[in-house]
């Protein structure tokens, strides 16, 4: 069944500072869409708008989960997550003083995720054997790469339909960035997820993206309807490839 997000004409601000202006964006069922933009352009803020952490001052955000349409604006974060939308937040936000396993089990707090807890945990451990080895270690004492794996795995434990990932590559070595991006792709295929990913690392993100948007100063500056279109865009050449 279909899972999609439709954002239309969204504005958002922190106090008097306008951060998002008239953003219209959609993610179709089964797609991987990448949201590109350098520091401070409003990627995380847009993610927060979808998750109900920041309330948009105007515009609409709808999500279709298993064919049912929901208005996300005005709902609490808990309700939105409960619908089946998971966010891997910026900075990972693990529970540092809980063990790896406890972090994962917390991911399955959602009532509908509890039923599949055994299956999902098994899958997480087979996908990231490292986490299985370290299941008793405190999350706060793991390396950056391991923490990113854990953050992804924890989001999966939610058994989401739509997965939002905010800058998975931050603070990782190039080889790890590559691996993380690949695992997102693998998870997506395995669980038939719909993915929206915010990234700065263009060349890695484009490897798994079906399409993408470029956000500059809170506005959508360019929409690439395919990976090729993104590759050949002037703006991207200017910002990311230094050409």
């Amino acid at each position: 069944m279909d899972n999609r997000i439709a954002i239309e004409g969204v504005h958002a601000a922190y106090g008097s500072v306008r951060v998002i202006e008239d953003v219209t964006l959609n993610v179709e069922s089964g797609e991987t869409v990448v949201l590109l933009g350098t520091n401070g352009n409003g990627k995380s803020t847009l993610m927060k708008c979808i998750m109900g952490i920041v309330r948009p001052s105007a515009g609409s955000i709808f999500a279709e989960i298993d064919g049912v349409r929901h208005d996300l604006v005005g709902r609490t974060t808990e309700e939105i997550v409960d619908l089946g939308i998971a966010l891997v937040p910026e900075g990972r936000r693990l529970f540092p003083k809980l063990s790896v396993e406890e972090n994962l089990l917390l991911g399955a707090y959602r009532r509908s995720a509890r039923k599949q807890i055994g299956k999902n945990l098994g899958f997480c451990f087979s996908m990231f054997p490292r986490l299985a080895e370290r299941r008793r270690q405190l999350a706060g004492s793991m390396s950056g790469g391991e923490q990113q794996m854990l953050a992804l795995a924890r989001a999966l434990m939610l058994a989401p339909r739509i997965l939002l990932v905010d800058e998975p590559s931050v603070g990782l070595a190039p080889i790890l960035v590559q691996r993380t991006i690949e695992s997102i792709q693998e998870l997506k295929e395995r669980y038939q997820l719909t993915v929206l990913m915010a990234e700065q690392n263009f060349s890695q993100a484009i490897r798994i993206a079906d399409r993408g948007y470029v956000i500059v100063h809170g506005k959508i500056a360019f929409e690439g309807r395919s990976a090729d279109e993104l590759n050949n865009n002037d703006l991207i050449r200017k910002f990311y490839l230094g050409m």
Partner: protein, 291 residues
């Protein structure tokens, strides 16, 4: 001079039994202060309230004090949840918990104590139960049931709490809530609800601890204040948020206090806990098993 071995061992046993009971008294604080980071100095007042409820129903109807406390668990849970709601709305939400929130709990502590004095006076009250009085002899040493029963019930309480906190979904959420409330919301859990439940749980333990208290010793309203220092000392010494640490620290304090009052006289015992607390704060604030 001859070292009084028998006296020493008896005192050790008494200390361990007492320590077990201290653990029950501290378990609530271990949740509210240790895990949730809410400095509920009114906790002992709830314990004394538990004692008096056990006392009333025991003298009036002859109900067993422990049984009464188990029936009272939901009531105390509800009471705790309501207190947290007030605390959250009036202080936590506005970032005023450090000054006004603390004063609020202090006021509650005070009002409860004085209210009990007004209704019941300052006389010591006690309960009657079959296990108050007799002792069993084990390997030549006396184990008074009055101490042994609370000790065993405390261990049971600890086991149950530890199970709830580590094995249930809500328990794990309680452990996580003070670390990162926003991340918890991203797991579809409402941090306020979790905290309310946890605070309710912590006050619920006071019902049982109160009944055990009045089984162990006669109670008057200001007894609670002696326990403020003890519970915080144990909680800090054990390591904030660690139930096993709390249990160890409670036993330790029980033994040290018991030895102190055996060898130096009971009037020194109250200072032991506080002295230990000051020393812990000064030299090892993370406690024995702090994470």
């Amino acid at each position: 001079m001859n070292f009084p071995v028998e006296l020493f061992i008896n005192s050790m046993i008494a200390g361990l039994l007492l320590g077990g009971f201290y653990a029950a008294v501290t378990s609530g604080i271990s949740i509210s202060f240790g895990i949730l980071d809410i400095v509920n100095i009114a906790h002992p007042a709830f314990i004394i309230l538990g004692s008096y409820i056990a006392y009333i129903l025991n003298t009036r109807f002859g109900f067993d004090p422990v049984l009464v406390s188990i029936v009272m668990l939901p009531v105390f849970y509800w009471l705790g949840a309501a207190v947290y709601q007030v605390y959250y709305l009036s202080f936590e939400q506005r970032g005023q918990e450090a000054l006004r929130g603390l004063a609020f709990f202090f006021g509650l502590l005070f009002v409860t104590e004085v209210g009990l004095i007004l209704v019941f006076g300052v006389d010591y009250r006690y309960v009657q139960a079959p296990y108050i009085g007799p002792s069993i002899r084990l390997a030549g040493f006396d184990l008074p049931l009055r101490m042994l029963v609370p000790f065993l019930l405390s261990l049971l309480l600890f086991a149950v709490l530890q199970l709830i906190l580590t094995r249930s979904f809500i328990g794990r959420a309680i452990m996580a809530v003070s670390q990162d409330p926003l991340a918890l919301r991203l797991m579809a859990a409402d941090p306020i609800r979790i905290k309310r439940a946890a605070f309710g749980l912590s006050i619920a333990t006071a019902a049982l601890a109160g009944a055990l208290l009045i089984v162990i010793q006669p109670v008057e309203p200001s007894v609670g204040r002696e326990y403020i220092g003890r519970v915080f000392a144990i909680c800090v010494l054990g390591g904030l948020g660690s139930l096993p640490g709390t249990l160890i620290a409670a036993m330790l304090l029980g033994v040290v206090e018991s030895l102190t009052s055996t060898f130096y006289g009971p009037s020194w015992a109250p200072a032991v806990a506080f002295g230990l607390l000051l020393l812990t704060l000064a030299f090892r604030p993370s406690g024995i098993l702090g994470r």
